[in-house]
Protein backbone atom coordinates (compact mmCIF):
# COMPACT_ATOMS: atom_id res chain seq x y z
CA UNK A 1 0.00 0.00 0.00
CA UNK A 2 3.04 2.28 -0.12
CA UNK A 3 2.74 5.49 -2.04
CA UNK A 4 5.28 8.24 -2.57
CA UNK A 5 4.46 11.52 -0.90
CA UNK A 6 6.11 14.45 0.89
CA UNK A 7 6.66 14.98 4.59
CA UNK A 8 4.30 17.97 4.38
CA UNK A 9 1.53 15.91 2.77
CA UNK A 10 2.05 13.10 5.28
CA UNK A 11 1.48 15.46 8.22
CA UNK A 12 -1.53 16.98 6.49
CA UNK A 13 -3.01 13.59 5.68
CA UNK A 14 -2.63 12.49 9.30
CA UNK A 15 -4.38 15.65 10.54
CA UNK A 16 -7.12 15.21 7.94
CA UNK A 17 -7.68 11.58 8.92
CA UNK A 18 -7.84 12.45 12.63
CA UNK A 19 -10.30 15.29 12.00
CA UNK A 20 -12.53 13.10 9.88
CA UNK A 21 -12.58 10.36 12.49
CA UNK A 22 -12.88 12.41 15.67
CA UNK A 23 -14.99 15.55 16.01
CA UNK A 24 -12.99 16.53 19.10
CA UNK A 25 -9.86 17.16 17.01
CA UNK A 26 -9.24 20.70 15.78
CA UNK A 27 -6.24 22.71 14.58
CA UNK A 28 -5.32 26.19 15.72
CA UNK A 29 -2.37 28.47 15.25
CA UNK A 30 -1.01 31.42 13.35
CA UNK A 31 -1.85 31.38 9.64
CA UNK A 32 -3.13 27.79 9.68
CA UNK A 33 -6.42 28.67 7.97
CA UNK A 34 -6.66 31.28 5.24
CA UNK A 35 -2.93 31.31 4.56
CA UNK A 36 -2.75 27.51 4.56
CA UNK A 37 -0.01 27.20 7.16
CA UNK A 38 3.38 28.90 7.25
CA UNK A 39 4.85 25.73 5.75
CA UNK A 40 1.64 24.90 3.85
CA UNK A 41 0.92 21.88 6.03
CA UNK A 42 -2.72 22.84 6.51
CA UNK A 43 -3.34 24.06 2.94
CA UNK A 44 -6.89 23.09 1.97
CA UNK A 45 -8.02 22.02 5.43
CA UNK A 46 -10.02 25.22 6.00
CA UNK A 47 -12.14 24.42 2.94
CA UNK A 48 -12.77 20.89 4.12
CA UNK A 49 -13.39 21.48 7.82
CA UNK A 50 -14.42 25.12 8.14
CA UNK A 51 -13.25 27.98 10.33
CA UNK A 52 -14.64 26.40 13.49
CA UNK A 53 -12.10 23.56 13.35
CA UNK A 54 -9.22 25.19 11.47
CA UNK A 55 -8.78 28.25 13.62
CA UNK A 56 -6.58 31.19 12.68
CA UNK A 57 -5.23 32.77 15.84
CA UNK A 58 -3.72 36.17 16.54
CA UNK A 59 0.01 36.30 17.31
CA UNK A 60 -0.66 35.29 20.89
CA UNK A 61 1.39 32.14 21.40
CA UNK A 62 0.81 32.05 25.11
CA UNK A 63 -2.96 32.50 24.94
CA UNK A 64 -3.67 30.08 22.12
CA UNK A 65 -1.36 27.42 23.55
CA UNK A 66 -3.06 27.88 26.91
CA UNK A 67 -6.44 27.76 25.17
CA UNK A 68 -5.37 24.42 23.70
CA UNK A 69 -4.62 23.19 27.22
CA UNK A 70 -7.98 24.41 28.52
CA UNK A 71 -9.85 22.82 25.61
CA UNK A 72 -7.95 19.56 26.11
CA UNK A 73 -8.97 19.56 29.79
CA UNK A 74 -12.54 20.00 28.65
CA UNK A 75 -12.80 16.98 26.39
CA UNK A 76 -11.28 18.20 23.12
CA UNK A 77 -8.21 16.90 21.25
CA UNK A 78 -6.60 20.13 20.03
CA UNK A 79 -3.61 20.33 17.73
CA UNK A 80 -1.83 23.62 18.37
CA UNK A 81 0.58 24.69 15.65
CA UNK A 82 3.32 27.07 16.76
CA UNK A 83 5.02 28.49 13.69
CA UNK A 84 8.53 27.66 14.87
CA UNK A 85 10.20 26.49 18.05
CA UNK A 86 11.70 29.96 18.40
CA UNK A 87 8.23 31.42 18.96
CA UNK A 88 7.29 28.63 21.36
CA UNK A 89 9.35 30.48 23.94
CA UNK A 90 6.49 32.99 24.10
CA UNK A 91 4.29 30.07 25.17
CA UNK A 92 6.82 28.45 27.46
CA UNK A 93 4.86 29.49 30.55
CA UNK A 94 1.83 27.58 29.33
CA UNK A 95 3.80 24.54 28.19
CA UNK A 96 5.94 24.28 31.30
CA UNK A 97 3.80 25.70 34.10
CA UNK A 98 0.43 24.36 32.94
CA UNK A 99 0.55 21.57 30.35
CA UNK A 100 3.38 19.71 32.08
CA UNK A 101 2.20 20.23 35.66
CA UNK A 102 -1.60 20.16 35.80
CA UNK A 103 -1.97 16.37 36.05
CA UNK A 104 0.50 16.27 38.89
CA UNK A 105 -0.63 19.41 40.75
CA UNK A 106 -4.20 18.14 40.66
CA UNK A 107 -3.19 14.79 42.14
CA UNK A 108 -4.02 12.92 38.94
CA UNK A 109 -7.43 14.55 38.35
CA UNK A 110 -6.85 16.61 35.20
CA UNK A 111 -4.82 15.24 32.30
CA UNK A 112 -4.00 17.38 29.26
CA UNK A 113 -4.38 15.49 25.95
CA UNK A 114 -2.85 18.27 23.87
CA UNK A 115 -0.69 18.03 20.74
CA UNK A 116 1.66 20.90 19.91
CA UNK A 117 3.39 20.83 16.52
CA UNK A 118 6.18 23.19 15.59
CA UNK A 119 8.90 23.62 13.00
CA UNK A 120 12.49 23.44 14.15
CA UNK A 121 16.06 23.55 12.85
CA UNK A 122 18.43 25.66 10.81
CA UNK A 123 19.89 25.58 7.33
CA UNK A 124 17.85 28.20 5.48
CA UNK A 125 19.86 31.34 6.28
CA UNK A 126 17.15 32.58 8.64
CA UNK A 127 19.64 33.74 11.28
CA UNK A 128 19.52 33.68 15.05
CA UNK A 129 15.80 34.02 15.78
CA UNK A 130 14.44 31.47 13.30
CA UNK A 131 16.97 28.65 13.15
CA UNK A 132 17.40 27.01 16.50
CA UNK A 133 16.78 23.45 17.62
CA UNK A 134 15.40 23.66 21.12
CA UNK A 135 13.65 20.29 21.33
CA UNK A 136 16.30 19.11 23.78
CA UNK A 137 15.21 21.82 26.21
CA UNK A 138 11.63 20.57 26.16
CA UNK A 139 12.89 17.03 26.75
CA UNK A 140 14.12 18.24 30.13
CA UNK A 141 10.56 18.63 31.39
CA UNK A 142 8.72 15.80 33.17
CA UNK A 143 5.10 15.66 32.04
CA UNK A 144 5.85 16.26 28.36
CA UNK A 145 6.57 13.85 25.55
CA UNK A 146 8.88 15.07 22.79
CA UNK A 147 8.74 13.57 19.30
CA UNK A 148 11.07 14.28 16.38
CA UNK A 149 9.73 12.65 13.21
CA UNK A 150 12.43 12.30 10.55
CA UNK A 151 10.81 10.01 8.00
CA UNK A 152 7.62 10.42 5.98
CA UNK A 153 6.19 7.40 7.79
CA UNK A 154 6.85 8.98 11.20
CA UNK A 155 5.60 12.39 10.08
CA UNK A 156 2.30 10.63 9.43
CA UNK A 157 2.18 8.20 12.33
CA UNK A 158 3.26 10.58 15.06
CA UNK A 159 0.23 12.85 14.64
CA UNK A 160 -2.08 9.94 15.36
CA UNK A 161 0.08 8.61 18.19
CA UNK A 162 0.22 12.04 19.80
CA UNK A 163 -3.55 12.52 19.55
CA UNK A 164 -4.15 9.12 21.11
CA UNK A 165 -1.91 9.97 24.05
CA UNK A 166 -3.63 11.22 27.23
CA UNK A 167 -0.82 13.68 28.00
CA UNK A 168 0.80 16.66 26.24
CA UNK A 169 2.92 15.68 23.26
CA UNK A 170 5.22 18.06 21.37
CA UNK A 171 6.08 17.24 17.75
CA UNK A 172 9.14 18.90 16.23
CA UNK A 173 9.13 18.95 12.44
CA UNK A 174 12.44 20.02 10.90
CA UNK A 175 11.56 22.71 8.37
CA UNK A 176 14.03 21.36 5.82
CA UNK A 177 12.15 18.06 5.72
CA UNK A 178 8.75 19.34 4.56
CA UNK A 179 9.66 18.90 0.89
CA UNK A 180 11.39 15.55 1.38
CA UNK A 181 9.83 12.63 -0.47
CA UNK A 182 9.44 9.06 0.56
CA UNK A 183 7.06 6.16 0.83
CA UNK A 184 4.10 6.12 3.16
CA UNK A 185 2.06 3.12 4.20
CA UNK A 186 -1.05 4.50 5.88
CA UNK A 187 -2.08 1.00 6.92
CA UNK A 188 1.12 0.11 8.74
CA UNK A 189 0.95 -0.48 12.48
CA UNK A 190 2.46 2.67 14.04
CA UNK A 191 5.75 2.31 15.90
CA UNK A 192 4.93 3.39 19.46
CA UNK A 193 6.13 6.58 21.16
CA UNK A 194 9.39 5.91 22.97
CA UNK A 195 10.69 3.30 20.54
CA UNK A 196 13.82 4.13 18.55
CA UNK A 197 14.38 2.59 15.11
CA UNK A 198 17.60 1.22 13.66
CA UNK A 199 17.74 2.52 10.08
CA UNK A 200 20.98 0.82 9.17
CA UNK A 201 22.38 -2.21 10.90
CA UNK A 202 26.14 -2.15 11.44
CA UNK A 203 28.78 -3.65 13.69
CA UNK A 204 31.64 -1.16 14.02
CA UNK A 205 30.22 2.05 15.44
CA UNK A 206 26.82 3.37 16.54
CA UNK A 207 25.58 6.72 15.29
CA UNK A 208 22.66 8.01 17.37
CA UNK A 209 20.55 10.65 15.63
CA UNK A 210 17.12 12.23 15.55
CA UNK A 211 15.18 14.45 13.17
CA UNK A 212 17.09 15.68 10.15
CA UNK A 213 20.35 14.36 11.59
CA UNK A 214 19.16 10.86 10.68
CA UNK A 215 19.76 11.63 7.00
CA UNK A 216 23.15 13.16 7.73
CA UNK A 217 24.08 10.04 9.68
CA UNK A 218 22.84 7.74 6.90
CA UNK A 219 24.84 9.65 4.31
CA UNK A 220 27.89 9.49 6.54
CA UNK A 221 27.43 5.74 6.93
CA UNK A 222 27.61 5.31 3.15
CA UNK A 223 30.94 7.17 3.00
CA UNK A 224 32.20 5.19 5.96
CA UNK A 225 31.24 1.92 4.24
CA UNK A 226 33.59 2.84 1.38
CA UNK A 227 36.34 2.91 3.98
CA UNK A 228 35.28 -0.42 5.35
CA UNK A 229 33.58 1.02 8.46
CA UNK A 230 30.21 -0.59 9.12
CA UNK A 231 28.14 1.96 11.07
CA UNK A 232 24.82 1.32 12.77
CA UNK A 233 22.42 4.27 12.52
CA UNK A 234 19.71 4.82 15.14
CA UNK A 235 16.82 7.27 14.82
CA UNK A 236 15.68 8.10 18.36
CA UNK A 237 12.24 9.32 17.14
CA UNK A 238 11.43 10.42 20.69
CA UNK A 239 13.62 12.53 22.99
CA UNK A 240 11.29 12.02 25.94
CA UNK A 241 10.91 9.20 26.66
CA UNK A 242 14.31 8.05 25.40
CA UNK A 243 14.70 4.46 24.24
CA UNK A 244 17.69 3.53 26.41
CA UNK A 245 17.38 -0.14 25.49
CA UNK A 246 17.94 0.31 21.77
CA UNK A 247 20.92 2.62 22.40
CA UNK A 248 22.59 0.30 24.91
CA UNK A 249 21.98 -2.85 22.86
CA UNK A 250 23.65 -1.22 19.89
CA UNK A 251 26.66 -0.17 21.98
CA UNK A 252 26.97 -3.71 23.34
CA UNK A 253 27.47 -4.72 19.72
CA UNK A 254 29.64 -1.88 18.36
CA UNK A 255 31.35 -0.62 21.54
CA UNK A 256 31.67 2.85 20.02
CA UNK A 257 29.16 5.68 19.76
CA UNK A 258 28.74 9.09 18.15
CA UNK A 259 25.70 11.22 18.95
CA UNK A 260 24.54 13.71 16.35
CA UNK A 261 22.49 16.58 17.74
CA UNK A 262 21.41 19.81 16.05
CA UNK A 263 21.17 21.41 19.49
CA UNK A 264 24.12 23.14 21.12
CA UNK A 265 26.50 20.82 22.93
CA UNK A 266 26.26 22.37 26.40
CA UNK A 267 23.36 20.97 28.38
CA UNK A 268 21.97 19.21 25.33
CA UNK A 269 20.03 15.99 24.80
CA UNK A 270 23.29 14.54 23.49
CA UNK A 271 24.82 15.25 26.91
CA UNK A 272 21.92 13.40 28.52
CA UNK A 273 22.41 10.43 26.22
CA UNK A 274 26.12 10.32 27.06
CA UNK A 275 25.30 10.40 30.75
CA UNK A 276 22.92 7.48 30.35
CA UNK A 277 25.47 5.47 28.40
CA UNK A 278 27.94 6.21 31.17
CA UNK A 279 25.43 4.93 33.73
CA UNK A 280 24.24 1.90 31.81
CA UNK A 281 26.94 0.78 29.37
CA UNK A 282 30.27 2.28 30.45
CA UNK A 283 32.11 -1.03 30.44
CA UNK A 284 30.92 -1.81 26.92
CA UNK A 285 32.80 1.18 25.49
CA UNK A 286 36.08 0.69 23.65
CA UNK A 287 36.58 4.41 23.06
CA UNK A 288 35.40 7.69 24.61
CA UNK A 289 31.93 8.69 23.42
CA UNK A 290 31.88 11.52 20.89
CA UNK A 291 29.38 14.10 19.66
CA UNK A 292 28.68 16.12 16.56
CA UNK A 293 26.57 19.12 17.63
CA UNK A 294 25.81 22.65 16.50
CA UNK A 295 28.61 25.11 17.26
CA UNK A 296 28.08 27.18 20.41
CA UNK A 297 26.91 30.26 18.59
CA UNK A 298 23.54 31.80 17.69
CA UNK A 299 22.99 30.63 14.11
CA UNK A 300 24.54 33.22 11.76
CA UNK A 301 22.98 34.44 8.53
CA UNK A 302 25.94 34.03 6.15
CA UNK A 303 25.67 30.68 4.39
CA UNK A 304 29.26 29.58 4.87
CA UNK A 305 29.05 30.38 8.59
CA UNK A 306 25.71 28.65 9.06
CA UNK A 307 26.99 25.59 7.21
CA UNK A 308 30.01 25.56 9.47
CA UNK A 309 27.82 25.78 12.58
CA UNK A 310 25.53 22.84 11.83
CA UNK A 311 26.29 19.11 11.96
CA UNK A 312 26.91 17.58 8.52
CA UNK A 313 27.89 14.18 7.09
CA UNK A 314 31.53 15.22 6.69
CA UNK A 315 31.85 16.03 10.39
CA UNK A 316 30.27 12.71 11.29
CA UNK A 317 32.59 10.82 8.92
CA UNK A 318 35.65 12.59 10.29
CA UNK A 319 34.64 11.83 13.86
CA UNK A 320 33.93 8.18 13.09
CA UNK A 321 37.25 7.72 11.32
CA UNK A 322 39.10 9.32 14.20
CA UNK A 323 37.41 6.93 16.61
CA UNK A 324 38.20 3.97 14.36
CA UNK A 325 41.82 5.06 14.09
CA UNK A 326 41.50 5.69 10.35
CA UNK A 327 41.84 9.44 10.14
Amino acid sequence: MDNITTYREAVKEAIRKAMREDERVFLMGEDVGHYGGCYAVSMGLLDEFGAERIIDTPLSESAFTGAGIGAAMNGMRPIVEIMTVNFSLLALDQIMNNAATLLHMSGGQFNVPLVIRMATGGGKQLAAQHSHSLEGWFAHIPGLKVLTPATIQDAYEMVGLALADPDPVLIFENALLYNSKGSLDVHATPTPIGKALIHKVGKDITIVSYGISLFKALEASKTLAEDGIDAEVIDLRSLRPLDDETIMNSIKKTHKVIIVDEGWKSGSISAEIMARINEQAFYELDAPMERVCTAEVPIPYAKHLEDAALPNPEKIVAMAKKMMGKS
Binding site: H104, G107, N111
Partner: protein, 324 residues
Protein backbone atom coordinates in the same frame (compact mmCIF):
# COMPACT_ATOMS: atom_id res chain seq x y z
CA UNK B 1 -31.74 41.69 44.00
CA UNK B 2 -34.41 39.93 46.03
CA UNK B 3 -32.93 38.71 49.28
CA UNK B 4 -34.87 36.17 51.29
CA UNK B 5 -33.83 35.10 54.75
CA UNK B 6 -32.40 31.79 53.58
CA UNK B 7 -30.20 33.51 51.03
CA UNK B 8 -29.11 36.06 53.63
CA UNK B 9 -28.16 33.32 56.06
CA UNK B 10 -26.33 31.42 53.36
CA UNK B 11 -24.29 34.45 52.23
CA UNK B 12 -23.39 35.47 55.74
CA UNK B 13 -22.49 31.95 56.82
CA UNK B 14 -20.33 31.30 53.76
CA UNK B 15 -18.39 34.51 54.31
CA UNK B 16 -17.98 33.74 57.99
CA UNK B 17 -16.84 30.20 57.21
CA UNK B 18 -14.16 31.56 54.86
CA UNK B 19 -13.06 34.09 57.50
CA UNK B 20 -12.81 31.46 60.24
CA UNK B 21 -11.19 28.94 57.92
CA UNK B 22 -8.48 31.46 57.06
CA UNK B 23 -7.96 32.37 60.70
CA UNK B 24 -7.52 28.69 61.47
CA UNK B 25 -4.99 28.43 58.65
CA UNK B 26 -2.89 31.19 60.25
CA UNK B 27 -2.93 29.31 63.54
CA UNK B 28 -1.96 26.06 61.86
CA UNK B 29 0.78 27.82 59.93
CA UNK B 30 2.19 29.15 63.19
CA UNK B 31 2.04 25.60 64.55
CA UNK B 32 3.90 24.45 61.43
CA UNK B 33 1.10 22.13 60.36
CA UNK B 34 0.70 24.11 57.13
CA UNK B 35 3.87 25.11 55.25
CA UNK B 36 4.87 26.63 51.94
CA UNK B 37 3.16 29.80 50.82
CA UNK B 38 -0.14 30.75 52.42
CA UNK B 39 -2.19 33.61 50.97
CA UNK B 40 -5.22 34.64 52.99
CA UNK B 41 -8.53 35.80 51.55
CA UNK B 42 -9.60 37.77 54.63
CA UNK B 43 -11.34 40.96 53.55
CA UNK B 44 -12.25 39.71 50.09
CA UNK B 45 -14.89 37.11 51.05
CA UNK B 46 -17.81 38.93 49.44
CA UNK B 47 -16.42 38.36 45.96
CA UNK B 48 -16.09 34.58 46.17
CA UNK B 49 -19.48 34.19 47.82
CA UNK B 50 -21.23 36.62 45.49
CA UNK B 51 -19.75 35.23 42.27
CA UNK B 52 -20.22 31.55 43.14
CA UNK B 53 -23.86 32.18 44.12
CA UNK B 54 -24.55 32.95 40.46
CA UNK B 55 -23.10 29.71 39.06
CA UNK B 56 -24.76 26.44 38.20
CA UNK B 57 -23.20 23.08 39.03
CA UNK B 58 -22.09 22.73 35.42
CA UNK B 59 -19.96 25.86 35.43
CA UNK B 60 -16.17 25.75 35.78
CA UNK B 61 -13.90 27.89 37.93
CA UNK B 62 -10.25 28.92 37.51
CA UNK B 63 -8.78 30.83 40.43
CA UNK B 64 -5.48 32.13 41.75
CA UNK B 65 -3.14 31.11 44.56
CA UNK B 66 -5.35 33.10 46.99
CA UNK B 67 -8.17 30.65 46.33
CA UNK B 68 -9.32 29.11 49.61
CA UNK B 69 -12.39 31.35 49.60
CA UNK B 70 -13.30 30.52 46.02
CA UNK B 71 -12.96 26.80 46.68
CA UNK B 72 -15.14 26.92 49.80
CA UNK B 73 -17.78 29.07 48.12
CA UNK B 74 -17.79 26.78 45.08
CA UNK B 75 -18.45 23.74 47.24
CA UNK B 76 -15.05 22.11 47.66
CA UNK B 77 -15.11 20.47 51.08
CA UNK B 78 -13.24 22.11 53.95
CA UNK B 79 -11.98 18.66 54.91
CA UNK B 80 -10.29 17.96 51.60
CA UNK B 81 -8.85 21.48 51.50
CA UNK B 82 -7.38 21.22 54.98
CA UNK B 83 -5.98 17.76 54.24
CA UNK B 84 -4.37 19.24 51.14
CA UNK B 85 -2.63 21.91 53.17
CA UNK B 86 -1.44 19.22 55.58
CA UNK B 87 0.10 17.46 52.56
CA UNK B 88 -2.07 14.37 52.98
CA UNK B 89 -3.33 11.92 50.36
CA UNK B 90 -6.93 12.72 51.30
CA UNK B 91 -6.33 16.31 50.18
CA UNK B 92 -8.22 17.60 47.16
CA UNK B 93 -4.96 17.41 45.15
CA UNK B 94 -3.53 14.41 47.07
CA UNK B 95 -1.07 16.68 48.80
CA UNK B 96 0.70 17.41 45.52
CA UNK B 97 -0.56 20.98 45.27
CA UNK B 98 -0.87 22.59 48.69
CA UNK B 99 -2.54 25.89 49.50
CA UNK B 100 -1.90 27.43 46.09
CA UNK B 101 -3.10 24.48 44.01
CA UNK B 102 -6.49 23.28 45.20
CA UNK B 103 -8.20 21.20 42.48
CA UNK B 104 -11.52 19.39 42.59
CA UNK B 105 -12.90 17.51 39.61
CA UNK B 106 -16.31 16.89 41.22
CA UNK B 107 -17.12 20.60 41.40
CA UNK B 108 -15.14 21.55 38.26
CA UNK B 109 -12.72 23.63 40.31
CA UNK B 110 -9.59 23.87 38.15
CA UNK B 111 -7.16 25.40 40.66
CA UNK B 112 -5.28 27.32 42.20
CA UNK B 113 -2.79 28.74 39.64
CA UNK B 114 0.31 30.44 41.02
CA UNK B 115 1.58 32.01 37.83
CA UNK B 116 -0.10 35.40 37.71
CA UNK B 117 -2.48 35.51 34.70
CA UNK B 118 -1.45 31.95 33.76
CA UNK B 119 -4.99 30.58 34.06
CA UNK B 120 -6.66 33.13 31.78
CA UNK B 121 -5.69 31.25 28.59
CA UNK B 122 -6.94 28.00 30.16
CA UNK B 123 -10.32 29.56 30.87
CA UNK B 124 -10.49 30.72 27.26
CA UNK B 125 -9.80 27.17 26.05
CA UNK B 126 -12.28 25.64 28.47
CA UNK B 127 -14.98 27.95 27.16
CA UNK B 128 -13.91 27.34 23.57
CA UNK B 129 -14.48 23.61 24.06
CA UNK B 130 -17.94 24.25 25.51
CA UNK B 131 -18.82 26.45 22.56
CA UNK B 132 -17.53 23.93 20.02
CA UNK B 133 -19.45 21.10 21.68
CA UNK B 134 -22.53 23.32 22.06
CA UNK B 135 -22.64 22.85 25.83
CA UNK B 136 -24.49 25.59 27.61
CA UNK B 137 -22.11 26.39 30.43
CA UNK B 138 -19.88 29.18 31.66
CA UNK B 139 -16.23 29.30 32.73
CA UNK B 140 -15.36 31.76 35.48
CA UNK B 141 -11.82 33.05 35.70
CA UNK B 142 -10.77 34.95 38.81
CA UNK B 143 -7.52 36.90 39.05
CA UNK B 144 -6.02 39.91 40.78
CA UNK B 145 -5.07 43.39 39.63
CA UNK B 146 -1.47 42.21 39.20
CA UNK B 147 -2.57 39.96 36.32
CA UNK B 148 -3.59 42.97 34.29
CA UNK B 149 0.05 43.84 33.58
CA UNK B 150 0.75 40.42 32.05
CA UNK B 151 0.57 39.77 28.32
CA UNK B 152 -1.57 36.69 28.93
CA UNK B 153 -4.33 38.96 30.30
CA UNK B 154 -4.48 40.98 27.08
CA UNK B 155 -4.08 38.00 24.77
CA UNK B 156 -6.84 36.12 26.58
CA UNK B 157 -9.32 38.98 26.67
CA UNK B 158 -8.82 39.52 22.96
CA UNK B 159 -9.41 35.83 22.18
CA UNK B 160 -12.47 35.57 24.41
CA UNK B 161 -14.03 38.63 22.79
CA UNK B 162 -12.97 37.69 19.25
CA UNK B 163 -14.34 34.16 19.54
CA UNK B 164 -17.40 35.20 21.60
CA UNK B 165 -16.72 32.74 24.39
CA UNK B 166 -18.79 32.13 27.52
CA UNK B 167 -16.21 33.38 30.06
CA UNK B 168 -16.85 35.51 33.10
CA UNK B 169 -13.64 37.37 33.95
CA UNK B 170 -13.54 38.51 37.56
CA UNK B 171 -10.76 40.86 38.56
CA UNK B 172 -10.28 41.17 42.31
CA UNK B 173 -8.67 44.58 42.47
CA UNK B 174 -7.20 44.70 45.96
CA UNK B 175 -4.93 47.57 44.93
CA UNK B 176 -1.60 45.83 45.38
CA UNK B 177 0.29 43.35 43.22
CA UNK B 178 2.04 41.76 46.15
CA UNK B 179 3.60 44.93 47.62
CA UNK B 180 3.42 47.38 44.73
CA UNK B 181 0.40 49.63 44.46
CA UNK B 182 -1.49 49.64 41.18
CA UNK B 183 -0.77 53.34 40.68
CA UNK B 184 2.94 52.55 40.39
CA UNK B 185 2.44 49.93 37.68
CA UNK B 186 -0.53 50.86 35.50
CA UNK B 187 -1.13 53.89 33.29
CA UNK B 188 -4.88 53.17 33.58
CA UNK B 189 -5.92 52.07 37.05
CA UNK B 190 -9.60 51.61 36.16
CA UNK B 191 -9.14 48.04 35.06
CA UNK B 192 -12.63 47.53 33.67
CA UNK B 193 -11.77 50.09 30.98
CA UNK B 194 -9.08 47.79 29.64
CA UNK B 195 -11.65 45.03 29.17
CA UNK B 196 -13.97 47.48 27.45
CA UNK B 197 -11.18 48.26 24.97
CA UNK B 198 -11.44 44.63 23.85
CA UNK B 199 -15.17 45.12 23.33
CA UNK B 200 -16.01 43.09 26.41
CA UNK B 201 -18.97 44.34 28.37
CA UNK B 202 -17.44 45.33 31.72
CA UNK B 203 -18.32 46.86 35.05
CA UNK B 204 -16.61 48.16 38.15
CA UNK B 205 -18.40 47.15 41.32
CA UNK B 206 -18.05 47.29 45.10
CA UNK B 207 -16.28 44.05 45.93
CA UNK B 208 -16.92 44.51 49.64
CA UNK B 209 -20.68 44.18 49.17
CA UNK B 210 -21.78 40.61 48.73
CA UNK B 211 -25.13 41.81 47.49
CA UNK B 212 -23.57 43.98 44.80
CA UNK B 213 -21.27 41.17 43.69
CA UNK B 214 -24.05 38.57 43.67
CA UNK B 215 -26.32 40.85 41.68
CA UNK B 216 -23.62 41.76 39.14
CA UNK B 217 -22.54 38.14 38.77
CA UNK B 218 -26.11 36.99 38.25
CA UNK B 219 -26.65 39.58 35.53
CA UNK B 220 -23.29 38.76 33.97
CA UNK B 221 -24.01 35.04 33.77
CA UNK B 222 -27.44 35.73 32.26
CA UNK B 223 -25.85 38.07 29.73
CA UNK B 224 -23.16 35.53 28.80
CA UNK B 225 -25.87 32.96 28.04
CA UNK B 226 -28.02 35.44 26.16
CA UNK B 227 -25.37 37.31 24.20
CA UNK B 228 -22.97 34.38 23.78
CA UNK B 229 -20.10 36.67 24.69
CA UNK B 230 -17.74 37.16 27.65
CA UNK B 231 -18.29 39.56 30.54
CA UNK B 232 -15.85 41.33 32.84
CA UNK B 233 -16.32 42.40 36.45
CA UNK B 234 -13.79 44.52 38.29
CA UNK B 235 -14.43 44.10 42.01
CA UNK B 236 -12.88 46.80 44.20
CA UNK B 237 -11.63 45.16 47.35
CA UNK B 238 -8.84 45.01 49.90
CA UNK B 239 -6.93 42.29 51.64
CA UNK B 240 -6.82 42.87 55.38
CA UNK B 241 -3.84 40.61 55.96
CA UNK B 242 -0.36 40.56 54.50
CA UNK B 243 0.25 39.25 50.96
CA UNK B 244 1.59 35.99 52.37
CA UNK B 245 3.05 34.80 55.63
CA UNK B 246 6.41 36.34 54.67
CA UNK B 247 5.23 39.91 54.17
CA UNK B 248 6.14 42.66 56.67
CA UNK B 249 3.68 45.09 54.99
CA UNK B 250 6.11 47.99 54.72
CA UNK B 251 4.40 49.31 51.59
CA UNK B 252 1.09 50.44 53.08
CA UNK B 253 -0.06 52.53 56.02
CA UNK B 254 -1.84 50.95 58.95
CA UNK B 255 -4.38 53.76 58.70
CA UNK B 256 -5.24 52.65 55.17
CA UNK B 257 -5.84 49.10 56.37
CA UNK B 258 -8.02 50.38 59.20
CA UNK B 259 -9.96 52.55 56.77
CA UNK B 260 -10.79 49.54 54.62
CA UNK B 261 -11.63 47.39 57.62
CA UNK B 262 -14.55 49.72 58.19
CA UNK B 263 -15.88 48.29 54.95
CA UNK B 264 -15.43 44.71 56.15
CA UNK B 265 -17.79 42.63 53.98
CA UNK B 266 -19.21 40.87 57.06
CA UNK B 267 -19.94 44.16 58.83
CA UNK B 268 -21.33 45.73 55.67
CA UNK B 269 -23.68 42.82 55.13
CA UNK B 270 -24.68 42.78 58.80
CA UNK B 271 -25.61 46.46 58.59
CA UNK B 272 -27.55 45.90 55.43
CA UNK B 273 -29.49 43.05 57.06
CA UNK B 274 -30.21 45.29 60.04
CA UNK B 275 -31.64 47.86 57.65
CA UNK B 276 -33.85 45.15 56.19
CA UNK B 277 -34.89 43.98 59.67
CA UNK B 278 -33.46 40.56 58.93
CA UNK B 279 -30.46 40.53 61.24
CA UNK B 280 -32.49 39.63 64.32
CA UNK B 281 -33.56 36.44 62.53
CA UNK B 282 -29.97 35.31 62.25
CA UNK B 283 -28.55 33.36 65.16
CA UNK B 284 -24.91 34.39 64.90
CA UNK B 285 -23.81 32.26 67.90
CA UNK B 286 -25.35 29.14 66.44
CA UNK B 287 -23.69 29.91 63.11
CA UNK B 288 -20.30 30.31 64.80
CA UNK B 289 -20.79 26.94 66.53
CA UNK B 290 -21.64 25.20 63.27
CA UNK B 291 -18.66 26.75 61.54
CA UNK B 292 -16.36 25.82 64.40
CA UNK B 293 -17.56 22.22 64.09
CA UNK B 294 -16.96 22.23 60.35
CA UNK B 295 -13.43 23.55 60.79
CA UNK B 296 -12.61 21.30 63.75
CA UNK B 297 -13.76 18.30 61.71
CA UNK B 298 -11.62 19.46 58.81
CA UNK B 299 -8.55 19.75 61.04
CA UNK B 300 -9.16 16.34 62.61
CA UNK B 301 -9.65 14.84 59.15
CA UNK B 302 -6.39 16.41 58.01
CA UNK B 303 -4.50 15.32 61.12
CA UNK B 304 -5.71 11.74 60.64
CA UNK B 305 -4.93 11.75 56.93
CA UNK B 306 -2.34 9.55 55.27
CA UNK B 307 1.06 10.55 53.98
CA UNK B 308 1.50 9.25 50.46
CA UNK B 309 4.14 6.49 50.30
CA UNK B 310 7.51 7.66 48.95
CA UNK B 311 7.31 4.81 46.42
CA UNK B 312 4.53 6.81 44.74
CA UNK B 313 6.66 9.94 44.38
CA UNK B 314 6.84 9.86 40.59
CA UNK B 315 3.16 9.15 40.00
CA UNK B 316 0.87 11.64 38.21
CA UNK B 317 3.59 12.93 35.90
CA UNK B 318 1.97 10.98 33.07
CA UNK B 319 -1.50 9.48 32.98
CA UNK B 320 -1.91 6.00 34.31
CA UNK B 321 -3.80 3.29 32.43
CA UNK B 322 -7.18 4.45 33.70
CA UNK B 323 -6.75 7.73 31.85
CA UNK B 324 -5.80 6.17 28.53
Amino acid sequence: MELDLNKAKEFYKEMLLIRRFEEKCVELYSNQKIRGFLHLYIGEEAIAVGVMSALSQEDAVFATYREHGHAIAHGVSAKSMMAEMFGKMEGCSRGRGGSMHLFDGATRFYGGSAIVAGALPLAVGMALADKMMKRNRVTVCIFGDGAVAEGEFHESLNLAALWKLPVLFVCENNRYAMGTALKYTESETDIYKKAASYKISSKQIDGMSVMDVAQAAKEAIASIHKEQAPMFLECLTYRFRAHSMFDAELYRQKSEVEEWKRKDPLTLFENSLKDKNMWSEIDRAEMEDEIKNTIDEAVTFAENGTLEPIEDLERFVYSEASHG
